[in-house]
Symmetry: D2
Subunit: 137 residues, 4 copies
């Protein structure tokens, strides 16, 4: 399990005083991005130099408790599937101070050539990092 | 069907030069928020005066084509379920210039007292607006 | 004067329940971007095809009243200087419902080749649009 | 000098492939927010429990070099004035990898009762933290 923590910032909450739900998906993506920093050249190297990205193609999310300003979110990320050209992550978000379950996210990415926007075979180094965090049923 | 259009802004795209996926969910939410403007007092009145919100509790999304800077997104919103304390929306996003299907979002909200964060019965006026846009199988 | 209006969205306010100040600068930029839509090919054509941008090089801002969820912001934009390679805008933001002055922004942009990130002479078509909105003391 | 570092995230850059300028002000605000964590109860306690905020009332910014995805920004924050009801910060932003000067921000806040939105005398504990980071000419 790859674990990532980040505080809620005052601009992440909305007029309902809870974190705006698309930002919760942003927190999960930060965890994926941080995982990709393990690549030689980092995530920026993958996107900007090699022009390979991981656009999201499918999402399933259950939101079970809100996050508020002052909370810290913990994202626990596992790789649940590594396919030919795509992979799936599960992200479990909790609140650090009381352990409440905030959201469960299933998140499928296509490994994509950013020039053509077509899916490509997962490069070996990306596959290695995914494999290191895989918990495949 | 409630229809809502909005241009992609330059800050909506990310380093991969496509709209960052959580922002696509933000576009769908803008459509819901615009629908709620039909309430007496608007969406702001619901949230700020009556302290009633519609936090998202469940999401299922398929992303099928990217949005880029220069594109205009069209959101077609229908209400697919009106329950006691929750409702479901389907949002179909397309690109205006070529009609390409960008995303299909199933989106479940709980009508919630923002003070206690507990689900409450859907108020009559909210129910009326939801009903006016319902396409229930 | 080029006039642009936009409602405050629920995600624009922060934990203090007022619009987060960098977003106010975003509203002003939306007005500039909308002005640039008058170009043949639009603002997207300028940035993406011609690879010319208008990065901000200097800002002076006075914030005089808050914006809240439910408010509509009006931006009144004038071009106050058109130089060789740069131009200046003044954006006055008000709240539509009561006319309160929200912010005054002086905003200097360098017309920039986005490949080299060097300032370039303002292209004729951009100069024409700037000139049409100029109020130069 | 209070020093704060944060990586540019892929969603911070815009269609021009450089960090969207209002986000640079957001980075500076993150440094101020992090400084305020030194308060008993943190920044969230100040805003949410004591209902005291620091809305920005004046900004002067020079942008001198862009930030790109892959860069890390360093914010060096000093308090340059502590008044009765307001204070001023200077934030110098640099790129970590090459030390290039990205922006210099002068930033004036009013200490504000968030219920009445009126400026109030700076509380003693806030004054103490500001004093600890003051470099007053």
């Amino acid at each position: 399990v790859f674990s990532y923590e980040r505080p809620v910032r005052l601009e992440d909450v909305d007029a309902a005083q809870i974190v705006f739900f698309p930002r919760i998906l942003g927190y999960a993506h930060e965890a994926v991005a941080t995982l990709m920093e393990e690549l030689d050249g980092g995530y920026a190297g993958l996107l900007m130099k090699r022009r390979i990205g991981l656009p999201t193609v499918h999402l399933e999310v259950d939101f079970t408790a809100p996050l508020r300003f002052g909370d810290v979110a913990r994202v626990e990320l596992t790789v649940t599937r590594i396919g030919e050209r795509s992979c799936a992550f599960r992200a479990k978000l909790t609140r650090v101070h009381d352990g409440a379950k905030v959201a469960t996210i299933l998140y499928v990415c296509a490994i994509t050539d950013l020039e053509t926007l077509r899916a490509i075979a997962i490069p070996e180094d990306v596959r290695r990092i995914l494999g290191a965090h895989a918990v495949i049923a």
